[in-house]
Subunit: 338 residues, 2 copies
DNA sequence: CTGAAAGCGCTAACAT
DNA sequence: ATGTTAGCGCTTTCAG
């Protein structure tokens, strides 16, 4: 299938009876090279399909034009949206994206970081796992990086995220304002920076009153979400409303409610997290918090690229963008009987 | 933020009073090195946070442990599903994924290929654009690669895809068997290998009878799909059923039908392409063709990794996996009046 | 304007 | 069991 050997500057030099340095200079557009020689070189290079060897350039200290992106799972639209935004920004500026999935596992995360460092990435955009290994932190510190969506205190002091607390506060307040007093919260496992802020936003509105209605769902499986929701609904004194605190959890909630044929919003009001495609079709239309993931990811990559260009030590910087409520049909005042 | 200098074998060697080759051999687990020395080296390496320089290794002929993945758009769940499958396979085998978006633009595609070749990827998994540039083809041929989901005749003779023709034949037959005689087809632009096969599958069932009901939608925008569908529905003698021939088009169809409040399946039956999250929630539940994208992508990456391991020239090989009909509520026999 | 040579970090052949 | 040397492809002095 492939021709094995790659064309090098030396191939071009020999074929033209020049030295490698002349060829190299011509290709680099060095003004000292005569226009005619430069053209000959360029033509030959195009002819042979020459592509420079990035590894060799990097050994000479060139930066790599590769940005590492570490996300828990690109299968999750939350992160594939971010990956898409990044890929666009990066390619526009001549950078490439090295995609790494951590699966939210710290050892996996470390292995991936090792790979990126070994591959000499120019910078890293990381959605850190809840509790990264010390070595992961040390390695990441060797390279310009920025945190996306989640933050861990030991990593870069620069981060771009969603204002998780505001998002959940607004979601919860919407239900509160409708008159709900038993609002259940379905969130991710404890220990995640975002999870804590989302819970705080919820508690901002309900106080400690509904502590019994807070459920922490293990990550990953939709089944867990469905089970937790079922537990809440089947328990004594069930909630009249539910807020979901992640995209995955929202999906699980929607599936469970659809399969149980719960009458939304008559029996139960629901507010989702994120506005994925299809949320508008669900039942009466899902009222949900729309999140600017694409915009945040774009800003994040712009910032990193700029920082790579400047080269200087950046000041601590935390960007936190809010979401907004998109009202559809899944919320209403609680039924009279409750 | 970062400590600038990376630790090299030489740093370790100097600190331990050894030569670089001894250090290199110790790190590589060469049996000639005494266990004690090896331990000293390993400890020091761990201490300093040594990570080998992949660029230097590659200059010595080592392969890069990086697989390039070229897709039109990771924002499309069709491809993010594939990316997820790949990332999992690859990381399990110690490989990394370089993610490239072509945006279905051939010049962009060429630029991305250049970047991958320059970066010395070990192999490439490509979803080719409809009409790649000659240079793109020449460059890809220099490196082990395989085609995913789409195929272009000038690229690798190895490909993993969906049996597009069967998928659309089954979708259309389902409507035909229900008694529909005016079945509209909404597909991608002409020129794409998959588009032609999907259209062929449709025509296998309807013959040339419904040629007036075939609409080609430009890629990318949901608006185009909605407009084409509107044109068909508002035209004289409108269809009693619609088949969609891509995920994006399916999404556009669902949005348009929802916003028009078309009574599905009473006024119009619909069969979708792919079974994305939320398709089951839409209206009466979307009857659709479920596609094994994850499985196909997994098989594809396994094959490529195996091929890299073997090193030998592979035989032409085309894998084409079928989909199956998932019946939900959006299809029914045509209304009496039609 | 162009050529010769050194060196980036690593490994493999060739010495001890 | 360890050290020395050469060279991968490229850029960058330093010499013409």
């Amino acid at each position: 299938m492939e021709a094995g050997k790659r064309i090098t500057t030396r191939d071009i030099a020999e074929r033209l009876g020049l030295s490698v340095s002349t060829v190299g200079r011509a290709l680099a557009g060095d003004p000292r090279i005569s226009t005619e020689t430069r053209h000959r070189v360029e033509r030959e290079a195009a002819e042979l399909g020459y592509v420079g060897n990035q590894a060799a350039r990097m050994m000479r200290g060139a930066s790599s034009k590769v940005i590492g992106l570490m996300v828990p799972d690109v299968g999750n639209t939350f992160y594939s949206t971010a990956a898409h935004a990044l890929a666009q920004c990066m390619s526009r500026q001549g950078y490439q994206v090295m995609l790494c999935e951590t699966g939210d596992d710290r050892d996996n995360e470390l292995a991936q970081v090792r790979g990126m460092i070994a591959g000499q990435v120019a910078g890293v955009i990381v959605v850190p796992t809840p509790n990264p290994r010390g070595e992961t932190v040390r390695l990441l510190r060797q390279v310009p990086h920025v945190q996306l969506l989640r933050t861990h205190p030991d990593l870069a002091r620069q981060s771009f995220g969603i204002d998780d607390r505001q998002v959940l506060r607004d979601a919860t307040r919407h239900l509160h304002d409708l008159g709900h007093t038993r609002i259940a919260y379905l969130g991710g496992p404890a220990g995640l920076s975002t999870g804590e802020r989302r819970l705080a936003g919820y508690l901002d509105v309900v106080g400690d009153r509904d502590a019994g209605l807070v459920a922490h769902v293990p990550p990953g499986s939709a089944e867990d979400t469905r089970r937790e929701l079922a537990r809440l609904l089947d328990g004594p004194d069930p909630p009249s409303a539910v807020v979901a605190a992640s995209v995955r959890i929202t999906e699980g909630v929607l599936e469970e409610l659809a399969s149980r044929c719960v009458a939304v919003p008559r029996e139960l009001s629901v507010v989702g997290f994120g506005d994925e495609l299809g949320f508008g079709w669900w039942g009466p239309g899902l009222t949900t918090m729309a999140l600017p993931v694409h915009e945040v990811a774009t800003a994040c990559s712009m910032w990193l690229l700029q920082r790579l260009r400047d080269g200087d030590e950046p000041a601590p910087f935390v960007s936190s963008t809010g979401g907004y409520l998109r009202e559809r049909g899944s919320t209403a005042p609680p039924a009279a009987g409750r």
